[in-house]
Amino acid sequence: MKVSQLSVFIENKSGRLADVTRTLANAGINVRALSIADTIDYGLLRLIVNDPARAKSELTNAGFTVALTEVLAIEVPDKPGGLAGIIDAFAECGLNIEYMYAFVGTSGENAIVIFRVEKVDEAMSSLQKKGVKVLSGEKLYAI
């Protein structure tokens, strides 16, 4: 049910980000969502791709340091207050959101947002009890 996110350590020097995207492009891997958390010297590039395992091995072979992290992909009603409702659900379940970012693409009528929380399994079941739609990895990669 969970979604694998790639986290790539990249130094802030020109061309390094391009190296990542080119490596993925050459391997025919599709990037569906990304966000960058950075400092002055380096950044962590977070990626959702259609084939995380292969993407990890391609990037590792190209000399990058890559970690896989489990995150939640959640369907957010595409209407005013849609996201607010989801965030409320997190708060009601006592879940701390470490970071979040948008996914490119939609599932039916809904938008998709990626959430990073601490205990993914527990978070998933308590959110589901509240009626929040959590997407499986397989379904997400196929979008």
Partner: protein, 436 residues
């Protein structure tokens, strides 16, 4: 336990001291009578060979420095005519003239004996295949290790340094059991083998004898793991003899000095005064058996201390701790003395960092010196959280600050982004030179 020459290496200390006294007096006379540069040094301070009656008089002798070799370039320090010199080596002369050293037939035999003890301490014997990846040529590493391995009767593969993939191919094809090279090159060989998908646990390689540059316990652990071997430290320098002046036993806890051939002293690097046993300072060597190039109190600029506690291996030769720094790679940053070895010792204790680092010192015009320590992160450390990495930087910077007393910046860099070298690793980039 392994020994090449147990009688010599486990000699009774009393007997050894008597032998050392006898050999010292002989060396002092030999140097005074046959090397004009030494005669001048003695005469200048009114010292006569007969004033030296034993090891306790050692501090009366003048020091020898690298400059003595340069001033007497190329053969002026030799104590024998050239028709007795069967080999000449030289150290690279990056600043000024090279140091040119010479060996008689007897010196070559002594040297081979010392390397045989070194390799023997790690279990090398007849039947071993020794892959010698030290550079051959004027550098003493290659031929030094070569003759010692031959003395043992091992099969030597004189491959020299470089061409790492071929090194691994040869290792597989020839079934090399012993590797000789610099520690950073051993690490590169190990990393390359893994990149090539070679299962090093299936290789017959058993031991490596690594020297010619300082290295750390962390590097030892890494090399041993990468290549599935025992990695032992070997020390020497061409002015004194070459590799094999001291060597580690399987205790891996300091290097036994070949004390029947050399006297080691520790002196204060600033004043030259001898320091009490166990103190950390500059290592100084006097040769006891060298014929072509006797050397009195040669200042190595290497920082270490001498450990005279008994070793479980049974060798009676005192040990020196692995080289802890150089008096000449000491950096002065905002008036504070900084040794790269201090930084290395902090990184060694940190989980999540690799032993690869570089110190970058800089000074913009009219500004204070800045020091950055670039540290490679280990793949295990990288997560999806910037916070984890920032905590690591803060932790390292904090430890270094409390150790050195100056603030500095720690910068995490990608694994393998600091250049590996086939020879000595470059740890310091001092950009301040640009403004001088």
């Amino acid at each position: 336990m392994y020994y090449w020459n147990k009688d010599a290496e486990c000699v009774d200390r009393g007997e050894l001291d008597a032998l050392r006294n006898y050999r010292l007096l002989k060396t002092v006379r030999h140097a005074y009578e046959n090397v004009p540069a030494y005669k001048r040094k003695f005469d200048e301070i009114g010292l006569r060979p007969e004033h030296i009656r034993g090891i306790e008089d050692l501090p009366k002798l003048p020091f020898t420095n690298k400059t003595d070799f340069r001033d007497n370039y190329p053969f002026g320090m030799y104590a024998v005519p050239m028709d007795k010199v069967v080999r000449v080596h030289a150290s690279s002369g990056t600043t000024g003239k090279a140091v040119v050293v010479g060996y008689t037939q007897g010196d070559i035999a002594t040297w081979a004996e010392m390397i045989a003890r070194t390799l023997g301490a790690g279990g090398t014997c007849k039947g071993d295949v020794v892959q010698n990846a030290y550079g051959y040529g004027l550098f003493t590493g290659g031929l030094g290790a070569h003759y010692g391995a031959e003395r043992i009767g091992a099969s030597v593969v004189p491959i020299s340094g470089g061409n790492t993939k071929r090194q691994i191919q040869i290792m597989q094809d020839f079934g090399s059991t012993v590797l000789c090279c610099t520690p950073s090159y051993a690490e590169l060989i190990g990393e390359t083998a893994h990149e090539m998908g070679v299962d090093t646990s299936k290789l017959p390689l058993r031991a490596a004898f690594l020297g010619a540059e300082p290295w750390t316990e962390a590097m030892r652990r890494k090399i041993e793991e990468l290549l599935n071997i025992d990695a032992l430290d070997i020390y020497g320098l061409s002015e004194v003899m070459g590799p094999g002046v001291s060597y580690e036993c399987m205790e891996k806890n300091g290097l036994h000095i070949n004390e029947d051939h050399f006297i080691a002293e520790i002196v204060d690097p600033e004043t030259g005064e001898p320091l009490p046993p166990g103190s950390k300072g500059e290592l100084v060597f006097t040769s006891l058996t060298k014929e072509a190039l006797p050397i009195l109190r040669y200042r190595t600029h290497d920082i270490t201390y001498i450990d005279d506690s008994p070793c479980p291996c049974g060798r009676t030769f005192h040990k020196m701790h692995r080289i802890m720094g150089r008096t000449d790679d000491m950096l002065i940053v905002r008036g504070v003395n900084v040794f790269p070895s201090q930084i290395e010792s902090v990184l060694m204790e940190m989980e999540g960092t690799e032993p690869h680092y570089m110190i970058v010192v800089d000074r913009s015009e009219g500004e204070m010196d800045t020091m950055e320590v670039w540290v490679e992160v280990s793949p295990e450390l990288v997560s999806d959280e910037v916070r984890t990495l920032e905590n690591m930087e803060r932790k390292i910077a904090g430890e270094l600050h409390s150790l050195l007393g100056i603030s500095l910046k720690v910068k995490l860099v990608e694994p393998k982004s600091i250049p590996r070298s086939e020879g000595k690793a470059k740890r310091v980039v001092d950009r301040r030179e640009l403004y001088q």
